[in-house]
Every structure is written in structure tokens, then in C-alpha cells.
Amino acid sequence: MTDGAVIASFLEATVRIATPLAMAALGETVTQRSGVINVGVEGAMLSGALASAMAGAGTHSAFAGFMAGALAGAAVAAVFAMFVLVTRGDQIVVGTAITLGATGATGAIYRAAFGQAGAALTLPTVAPAGIPILSAIPVIGHALFRQPVPTYLLYAIAPALWWFLMRTQPGLAVRAAGESPHAAQAAGIRVNRLRWLAIVFGGAMAGFAGATLVLAQAGTFAERMTAGRGFIAIAIVVLGRWNPLGVALAALVFGAASALQFALQALGYAVPYQFFLMAPYVVSLLALGGVGGRARAPEALGKAW
């Protein structure tokens, strides 16, 4: 491969890997802006992945698969919301339980539905779709404009969420619920109802991200296939400083860290593959250490009120 081709494929992999991360992180951004940290986002993503595989295999429709993924993620997040908002359990404890439960449940359901060995699934996958003219731009053309549809959705969702949170009245209410729930309530904002919506939205985005992994990337489901991407999404939220545009950029950083694997292999560097698999987590730690000190989380994040 020529150097130019290596760079182009590195960028293409960066955007591809960043897509589900950004999707889940943008959802979690809204959740956290409302004052709730949902560590169960990993579980919502995994559930979305399985639901999209089952719906996709059943209906042969990728669209149905994506919808099922988003629905499953929303449903899992609704369970989290119930235990956090109604039962007022600790957010970390409940979120951990949700992820644990989703790991067990998806494993059991998958084996019950597809057998011990996990019969080869025939899923309706979505292939990369090139946008005419734009995808012909050298170097970055394929990376940005020859991707599966979910990537293009992000180009709309990230700025839309920024506009919603920063420029609209309901967005202000969400931020108020996350900064100072008591003051928000006194101002007539129904904090718990907003948090419900923010949590379920975050779950739907995570579920959609899981569906993207299955239907646009792996082409199949495997147990624990999210492999911590939900947790990385939470690190991305911090790195992006709870700002949807920053979060989208931060997701690219993580995509690049993972994509290095392909670039270095193409250039003939022999590094044990485990170190590549480790890379996004190491980058998370470095990023959190570097940014964590300066980024300011929503004041009421993680606290019941």
C-alpha cells in the first residue's frame, strides 16, 4: 500500500469505529446533562445489539433491526430510570447491575435463540453508501462520505443536539435539572420527568449504537460484543466536556486510537495485537487524566435529590 492509501484507510477506519462510540456518547451526554450518570449504557448497547440481530434475522429488514435496537436500548434504560428515579437507588450501583444483567440476559437469550454454538446468522447488513462528488475528495473523501448510513445520521444529530441543549428552552431545562435540580423544580421544571426522558433517549441512542455494531460493522452478534464500548462512551462524554460537538470530536480521537492497529499493520510494524485492543482504554485513562482536571461536570451529576 502507498502511504496515501494507508492514511485514507486509517481515516476510514477511524470514522467507522468512532460512529457507534459517538452515537452512544451523544445519548449519554444528554442523560448526564440532566444530572444522571448511566453506567448501564454498556448494557443498553449490548441489548440493542442482540435485539437488532434478532429483529434483523426475523424480518430481513435492516431498518427493523435498527428500530428494534433503539427500542431495546430504551427499554433497558427505562429499567435503570425506574430504579434510579422512582426507587431512588444509587446511580452507580443500579447502572452496574443493569450492565451485569444485560450481559447475562443477552448471553442466555442468544444461546436459547441461536443454539450453543451460535448458528451463523444471516442478517440484513447496511453497506457503505458513497455520496456522489464528496466521496471523491482525496484522502478524506471515503472516510467522511463513504460510510454506512448511521454515520451520516450523526452529522445531523450532533449539531442538532448542540442546538437543542444550548439554544432551546427545553434544552435549558435539561441543563438546569443537571446543575441545580432544586432551583429547576422551584422554577416550575419537572425535573424527574425530564430525567426520565433524558435517560430513555440515552438508552435509545446506545441501543442504536449496538445495532450499528451488528448491522453496519460486524454483520453478526457475539456475546459481550460491545466489549466496554459503553464505558468508553462515558469517557468520551467527559473528554468532550458534555458538549455534543466536543463529544463527536472526542469520539474521533478514540476511533483513531483503535484504527492505528490497521495503519501500523499495513506499514509492517509487528506489535502484539493485545496492545492495540488495549489502546482505546489507555487513551481513555490519559484523556481523563489530562482533561478531567479542567472539565467541569454538571453540578448535580450522580446525585439523587
Binding site: F83, A105, A108, Q116, I234, Q274, M278, Y281
Partner: protein, 294 residues
């Protein structure tokens, strides 16, 4: 039946030790979800010493392995502890990140520097005979680690309830702001030490597993002990002596799940769903207790 009982106790041993690690951290208000990684840190060190040290006296191993494994666990917890103390980074995320890093590191080690001499299987050589813990029951993999773990639970309980550092730890965990303004408790220092101690205990569990049960290191050595331990600690309501009982309960649950998988084909991952349910039920029950208190 005896087999099932022994299998339950073998499973309960790491759950008890790691459960104590989690309970200690949670008591201090530290969300250490990283016991899994700290467990692996201890397991790696125990394997390294057990396969490479070349000493023939069990005494060397008895002294060296637990101390080194505890240190490794504390160091592995030290990264998130430092990030938390220095930069205020949420330990929930960093500890989970380090779990994944630990798993990949183990994978690398058993494919590389620590791989068995034949270079065929992704696992380490067995540890030397002198590095193995003696069995409590002939023929079973139940070792002295279990009574040690029970003693450890008692020690943690005494420390928490009967000593000044224990009081400081509970105060810092229950209400850090009040502890700080009291002027007598250095909250950051107390919580950081608790974090490191939690890691050290989890590291000990890793060493006990390698030295007493598996005798070798391989991928997925831990079937998620670090995560199950969270359920164990919460079921005990973070009480060190309660952890003994809940570890036995979960040990039986996991041994039962393994048996069910063998004879009925029910996947053992289902156990995670049961554990999640237990945690959520505890959360709901505590809500009712709180209401009754009002």
C-alpha cells in the same frame, strides 16, 4: 452433595476476598468497579513468582507471593486512585478501563512472556509445587485461603468498627463534606488509602486463585469475580462479616450454575442476570427500609 459443597466453598473463597475489597472501598465512598483488574494483577505476579522464582522452600513463597500480589493489586488500584485524588476523575470509569487493560495484558502474557514452555497453549507453565497452597480437604481444591479469608473478614470488621482509621474511613464514606469540616479527618488521604487497600485485597484473591486452584495463568481466569463481588458486598450491606455469608451464597449459586450448564445446558452467564436481580432487589429493599425510618 459433598462435591457440590466443596465446589461452592472453592467458588466462595475468591468471592469472599474480593467481596471484602469491594465492601471496604464502597464503605469509604469509593466506587471501585476495578476489583477484576486488581485480581488479575495479583494473579500475574503470583504466576510470575511461582513459575520463575526457582526457590524450593514453601516458606519463600508463603512470604513473598501474598505480599507481592497485594502490592500489585494496590498499584493497579493506584492509577485510578491517583487520577481521582489529583484530577478528580470518576473512579467508576477508570477502574473499568483498567479491567479491560488487565485482561488484554494477561492475554498478551500467556501468548508471550509467560506462555508455557511448549509454546502451544495460551496459558502459563504450572507454578512450582512449593508455590502451591496446601489442600484443606484431600483431593479437593479447597485450600488454606478460605480460613485466611474468614480471618481477613474479621480483621476488616475490627478495623472498621474498633479503630480510629476505621472510624475515619466510615465517616469519609458516609458524609465526606461533614468529615472534612470536622477538621479531624483528612478525607482525601483516608479514601485514597482505602482505595489502595481495596486493590491490595483483590490482588491477594488473584494470588490465592493461582496458588490454590488453577496453578496457572490463562485468559478468563476470573469468571467475573470482580463484578460478582459487587453483588456479594451489596447483599452483605457492606458489612465485612456479612460478606462471609453472602460469598457462601453466591459461591453456591455459581457452583450450581456451573453444574446446571454441565447437565442441562443452561448457560452459566445466566448467573449474571440473577446477580443483577439481587442487586436491584437490594436497592428496592433499602428504599423500603429508608421509608420505614422516616
Amino acid at each position: 452433595m459433598t462435591d457440590f459443597l466443596l465446589a461452592s466453598l472453592v467458588r466462595a473463597t475468591p468471592l469472599l476476598i474480593v467481596g471484602l475489597a469491594v465492601a471496604l472501598a464502597f464503605r469509604a465512598g469509593i466506587w471501585n468497579i476495578g476489583a477484576e483488574g486488581q485480581f488479575y494483577a495479583g494473579a500475574v505476579v503470583a504466576t510470575w513468582l511461582g513459575t520463575r522464582l526457582g526457590a524450593s522452600s514453601p516458606l519463600v513463597f508463603v512470604l513473598l507471593v501474598p505480599a507481592s500480589a497485594a502490592l500489585a493489586g494496590a498499584l493497579w488500584a493506584g492509577v485510578p486512585a491517583l487520577l481521582r485524588a489529583r484530577f478528580g476523575v470518576l473512579e467508576v470509569i477508570t477502574t473499568i478501563m483498567l479491567n479491560f487493560i488487565a485482561e488484554y495484558l494477561v492475554s498478551f502474557l500467556v501468548h508471550g512472556p509467560l506462555q508455557e514452555a511448549g509454546k502451544t497453549y495460551p496459558q502459563s507453565d504450572p507454578v512450582a509445587d512449593a508455590a502451591r497452597l496446601g489442600p484443606l480437604v484431600e483431593g479437593a481444591r479447597l485450600t488454606w485461603a478460605l480460613p485466611f479469608a474468614v480471618l481477613l473478614a474479621v480483621a476488616v470488621w475490627i478495623m472498621l468498627t474498633r479503630t480510629r482509621p476505621g472510624f475515619a474511613l466510615r465517616a469519609a464514606g458516609a458524609n465526606p463534606e461533614a468529615a472534612r469540616v470536622s477538621g479531624r479527618i483528612r478525607v482525601l488521604r483516608v479514601t485514597t488509602v482505602a482505595f489502595l487497600a481495596s486493590g491490595a485485597i483483590a490482588g491477594l484473591a488473584g494470588a490465592a486463585e493461582v496458588s490454590g486452584v488453577t496453578f496457572a495463568l490463562y485468559e478468563r481466569l476470573s469468571p467475573g469475580y470482580g463484578y460478582t463481588a459487587i453483588a456479594v458486598a451489596l447483599l452483605a450491606r457492606l458489612h465485612p462479616l456479612g460478606v462471609i455469608a453472602s460469598a457462601l451464597a453466591f459461591g453456591a449459586l455459581e457452583a450450581g450454575a456451573a453444574a446446571l450448564q454441565r447437565s442441562w445446558g443452561i448457560p452459566s452467564v445466566t448467573v449474571y442476570a440473577v446477580e443483577a436481580l439481587v442487586i436491584l432487589l437490594i436497592v428496592a429493599a433499602e428504599r423500603r427500609v429508608r421509608r420505614a425510618d422516616d
